[in-house]
Symmetry: C2
Subunit: 511 residues, 2 copies
């Protein structure tokens, strides 16, 4: 029995205890039905699994923890009613909730590689490692690999970022470094999984002499669909598919929901198409990651993060719509892999007040704004503060106290305070410098975190005015929520470790 199997076997309770003796825990039929299995859930009490799902959905909001979720609820409620009321998100109404710790073998502020590995494979490993145990050598098999082989389930992997990025990769790849993008893409081609969709492939071209990963995927039988027409034309008979978003924004990822136009495909579109392609009598497992909640939170851009959380709800709705037709056979989990940014609803300068409606004055993501400013700089290398003020006003709704607009009172909430204006002006000066000439010290590291000084200062100002604070440009150690509904959902209640998400999934699926 391999080490992987032995470690896993320790967790599957009665079933494993019986099967272990036969030395074939992975392949033997469990002598106890999952329905009757009593499993330990990080507590002394035991829980009964009432139903075994045939269709499993796991939605992972990268960087999405309690505050990201609640900020979306506050934003929606506040903007709908104008009152102090939270709006609804379909997944926060799920009947079962859990909470998971996220630390990995290296850090209490873990990364997506290790945390996604904990969720997909049930092991703790080093930051940066995908699908391998803490020794960085032993392969940890993923829930998706097991369900594919043992249950004949079809597997779909959807992400708004590149499909060989850490989170999606953890469901099919095994590498000691998340940066081995080409190797991961090769494992994607070898996975035999049925449906990949969302962003493109990072470093698909590989190094000199390597075959482009898309060509390899095609040689392995994958249909690559990367136009709206091709994607819409995909149907149940299309075979193995990789649907690549026709519109890409930063680092091969789909656009932020905030920047997306109506004619562009959304993450929900890729989930719906996935359900259509994956549905079969052996069932399926679909993992969908909203990857840019994390990216927005790294950059401390609350508006972009909130819009991606709200957008995520529509992907989840696609699963709920499917579950409505298969209520006793579908399990839907929604969770995060870790928190990003140390986001809080509440900020020192605003105290007990919040003003989320001011966020609506921001009409593009920091990424889109950076591109916009770069174009302006190209057009005018001597861009001055005065040239940029109207741009700030148009895109962030922030104004200087000396703005000539007579209709605006000087104490309006979107007028920068003297301290804010000084921060903005200093950031503009830094931003206009060539990257190599920018000030690098303790203070600028805290102020800008390696982001473009202008846009990160503007998101800080508008966020702080809204009553949103940030403590970091990295991930934090905040536990993450698990929301569960459907067949077997009940075992996801309680407080546990993120490795238990895998264990509970394996248990509920009868592995």
């Amino acid at each position: 029995m391999s080490k992987v199997k032995a470690v896993r076997a320790a967790f599957v309770g009665i079933i494993a205890a019986l099967v272990f003796m036969s030395g074939c825990a992975r392949t033997a039929e469990a002598p106890v039905t999952p329905q009757a299995a009593q499993i330990a859930s990080g507590s002394e009490q035991t829980k009964q699994i009432t139903k075994t799902p045939k269709y499993l959905f796991v939605f992972i909001g990268d960087g999405m923890s309690y505050v990201q979720v609640n900020a979306a609820k506050v934003y929606r409620g506040n903007n709908t009613s104008g009152e102090v009321a939270t709006g609804n998100l379909n997944f926060t109404a799920f009947p079962v909730a859990g909470v998971a710790t996220t630390h990995d073998a290296t850090s209490f502020c873990p990364d997506s590689a290790s945390t996604a590995t904990s969720i997909s494979c049930g092991v703790k490993t080093h930051s940066g490692v995908i699908g391998m145990e803490v020794d960085k050598t032993t392969v940890a098999e993923s829930i998706t690999e097991q369900l594919s082989r043992e249950k004949g389930m079809k597997i779909g992997i959807v992400s708004s970022v590149t499909i060989n990025h850490a989170t999606p990769a953890a469901f099919y790849a095994h590498v000691s470094s998340r940066n081995d993008y080409y190797d991961i893409a090769m494992q994607m081609a070898e996975s035999g999984f049925d449906y990949f969709a969302g962003g493109t492939i990072s470093q698909a071209e590989g190094k000199d002499g390597q075959t482009n990963a898309f060509d390899v995927l095609q040689s392995k039988g994958y249909t690559i669909a990367d136009t709206p027409e091709e994607i819409r034309a995909l149907s149940a008979g299309s075979g193995k598919v990789y649907a690549v978003s026709p519109v890409l924004q930063d680092s091969g990822a789909m656009p932020y929901a905030l920047d997306r136009t109506e004619d562009q495909l959304s993450l929900a579109d890729f989930v719906k198409k996935g359900i259509e392609l994956l549905d079969n009598e052996n069932g399926f497992f679909l993992m969908c990651e909203s990857g840019k909640v994390d990216w927005a939170c790294h950059a401390n851009d609350a508006m972009s993060a909130i819009h991606d959380v709200v957008d995520f709800e529509e992907s989840i709705q696609a699963a709920l719509d499917f579950a409505a037709s298969h209520p006793d056979e579908t399990l839907i989990l929604v969770t995060g892999d870790h928190e990003t940014g140390g986001m809080t609803i509440g900020y020192a300068a605003t105290g007990y007040d919040t003003a989320f409606s001011i966020l609506d004055r921001q009409n593009m993501s920091y990424v889109a704004f950076d591109s916009f400013i770069a174009r302006l700089k190209d057009e005018n290398p001597n861009l001055a503060l005065e040239d940029v003020l109207p741009v700030i006003k148009a895109n962030f709704g922030l104004m200087s106290a000396s703005d000539p607009d007579a209709n605006i009172p000087a104490n309006a909430p979107f007028v920068m305070t003297p301290m804010e204006y000084a921060k903005f002006a200093a950031a503009f000066d830094e931003s206009m410098k060539a990257s190599a000439n920018r000030t690098q010290n303790e203070e600028t590291a805290l102020l800008y975190g390696g982001y473009d000084p202008l846009s990160v200062t503007l998101t800080h100002i508008i966020n702080n005015k809204a009553g949103i604070g940030w403590t970091s440009y990295a991930h934090t150690g905040t536990p993450v929520p698990i929301y569960a509904t459907g067949a077997g959902a009940e075992i996801f209640s309680g407080a546990y470790d993120n490795t238990d998400i895998y264990k509970k999934l394996a248990q509920v699926a009868g592995l």
Copy 2:
């Protein structure tokens, strides 16, 4: 039917729908047994209550949300093993978890008066209002008042802060302003509740001509025990009791766990004594608040907050020990009323690193340190920075880069960086000024939040070095966890509003 009754009746599902017609929802026997009642839990699914508890414990960590809890786990795990591993807390192993939104009628960053009212009475109200509805006039009856009257249960109210402070008050008082301390104390005397314990009474003396609240309590039959001997001598036959901590620290509250000496009574001692006095054949309800997690987080003092969370576990253990003898009849809930401080495990300057072991170099709370510095200032009004450096080193373990201790490398983690030292020196200068002469501007408001500039800067520096960030000196809108175990615990799973905590308690208790 009163407005209170009507509002509540809307939530109790089948039972209320039937009883509503008779116009006597409060007093009628429910026609459906609680055991069989299906209740809505903020979701479309319904949940079955399997057991009705006779003994109910509600533990409220004021200002305690996910990060405060996980920081205690990280602190304990890290200090025990030296590895990246979390330690255990008894309540995070409870089998059921829920998550509650906390906004009140006024704010997404609510206060303890409104949030405790939501928990105790099931209504949303204004910040600052206790036990009254949003009109600030209509009395909202508390779960404790109902259980006392309708079930004959004994009631105990324990807090580490004053017993007429917002959270404990919400279980027996009804006032439009939490600052009406004397009025609240009078309602405490009138409550007829069986056991009060912990801090003293805020403003017990009242105004000119008013009778001291302690005298009123005695006239209403309460035994006031405020020495260790008197408290230890209390027993089941003692009648109505108010046990006041013999040692008080700030604002009439018990000392921080970090400052408490071994001979002093702890919050757990008051819970144990409460169980002893309250146990009777009709059952009891005991609410225990750890009130200074909030106070420490307001001041951004992680070490004091963490120690009070760890200390809270011992109070909860007293309930678990009792439950071990009454496993089918005891329900234990642990929750927070709101988050305080915007605390995060992770900070911009430390990125993915944390170093919680550095927290052990802080050996007293900010309150104790403020008192200590005040004494030094009294002794030497011309206290200089050089005089204070050894004090900082002794009590926070923080050193200047020019410290003469030859054994310490300059890059040791507890040596202040140039930016940190500059912040410390500026804070020292501010701190030495008379309060009225201190700088008051946007920047100092962010830096010090109204706290003593020196101590709050020192906790910021040591927290940041440990990898802990803060965004506020006030409360935030982070949802709070609910951990539940025992009879009826299962209905506390899921994501819901804090008013649902009351509703679920009422349901599970058969009200």
